[in-house]
């Protein structure tokens, strides 16, 4: 069976590789992908949104509908993991220990963490905010922020981390980020534009259409950041403790 699979896959691979002759060369400036839509993005993007990072522009404005669902995907993942792992009633006294219980403090580890974590969190905020001008944005910043909580859990223990950021709070953040995103879209609708048409924010913010788009991008990036951050935390909580939210990795 394994051999059969192997042979079939080899054959498929060879077929597809043979067909690769038809594809444009790597980094060919004349390829359709580089000539059809991307010039429009690159040439109009800055003019229309006052945001130099075109990836951010495409992500959070031209294709922001996709990005909203991206946030929904991570939201769904957190929800599903919670639903799968958390729904069994906890069995008392059967806490699985994944590592030996330690007495006392890991001074070096925890001291270092105490130093690093604030820096990480500030850097995460910077990455979210500076996504307009440099690589970065809600996803990247959110992941870094989430990582800071995971670091707490790793260096202290899971209980300690949960005390800092309770499950209910995580859940509110998970849904709240997406809600922020979708709400901005809906506000644009209320203002008479289409869903996620950030121009609709112009009259609220008292800014020009172009700047309104820029602010709109920032707002949804913040929403994405909140969701991604809390989803990272939530996934870690559930997976590390197998859903017990008690003692974990």
């Amino acid at each position: 069976m394994k051999q059969l699979t192997f042979i079939i896959l080899i054959v498929c691979a060879l077929l597809m590789l043979k067909a690769a002759a038809d594809l444009p060369d790597w980094a060919d400036p004349a390829s359709p992908a580089s000539t059809h839509l991307s010039p429009d993005f690159l040439e109009q993007g800055y003019v229309e949104t006052a945001t130099p990072n075109i990836v951010t522009v495409v992500l959070a404005d031209y294709r922001s509908y996709d990005t909203m669902f991206e946030a929904v995907v991570v939201f769904a993942a957190a929800l599903i993991v919670m639903v799968i792992l958390r729904h069994t009633p906890r069995k008392r006294g059967k806490t699985i220990l994944y590592r030996p219980k330690r007495e006392g403090r890991d001074t070096i580890l925890q001291g270092a963490a105490q130093l690093i974590i604030p820096v990480m969190q500030i850097f995460a905020l910077y990455v979210v905010g500076h996504g307009h001008y440099s690589p970065g944005g809600g996803f990247q910043g959110g992941v870094i922020f989430g990582a800071s909580f995971i670091l707490i859990a790793l260096c202290f223990n899971l209980r300690f981390a949960i005390q800092r950021f309770r499950e209910q709070g995580v859940l509110v953040c998970v849904a709240g980020g997406v809600l922020l995103y979708a709400a901005i879209g809906a506000i644009c609708q209320v203002m008479g534009y289409n869903f996620l048409g950030y121009t609709g924010l112009a009259s609220i913010l008292g800014a020009s259409d172009v700047m309104a788009r820029s602010y709109g991008i920032l707002a949804v990036e913040v929403g994405v950041g909140i969701t991604v951050m809390s989803v990272m935390v939530s996934l870690y909580y559930d997976l590390a403790s197998s859903g017990d939210l008690d003692e974990g990795l």
Binding site: A21, D28, V47, T67, V73, I80, L85
Partner: protein, 129 residues
């Protein structure tokens, strides 16, 4: 010979990602250990990400962040920047991959709890009994 050379060198991005793709697919189909299946899945997804992201490359272009000339005027020339669209798509696909991975791991933990193993044949045996 020259043509073949061109075929391999100029399109190496497709070669690389397709080889990875099929390695991942093989892992997903043929491996007995469910964790290895998940690893195969991740390789498989990553291969597709590579495939996509390689489309964005453009000779002589830099990252798609608008540069400014000395007099603070934006440099709006499409040939100067790489294609931003694949980056955006890949960001989405990465997120989807992470979400799938998370769910898969959660289910795997449950399987381990219910069946006491994550080897496929042992689980099937467990189900039969």
């Amino acid at each position: 010979m020259d043509e073949l050379f061109h075929y391999i060198i100029a399109k190496y991005n497709y070669w690389a990602s397709l080889v990875l793709l099929f390695i991942g697919l093989y892992g997903m189909i043929a491996k007995n250990n469910l964790m290895k299946k998940i690893i195969g899945m991740v390789i498989f997804q990553t291969a597709i990400l590579l495939f996509f992201v390689s489309i964005g490359a453009k000779r002589g272009a830099s990252v798609p962040i608008i540069k400014f000339t000395a007099d603070k005027q934006p440099l709006l020339e499409a040939t100067a920047y790489a294609n931003p669209l694949p980056h955006v798509l890949i960001l989405t696909a990465i997120v989807v991959g992470v979400a799938t991975l998370g769910v898969a791991l959660a289910i795997l933990q449950k399987i381990q709890r219910v069946h006491g193993t994550i080897e496929e044949d042992e689980i099937l045996e467990d189900q039969r009994s």
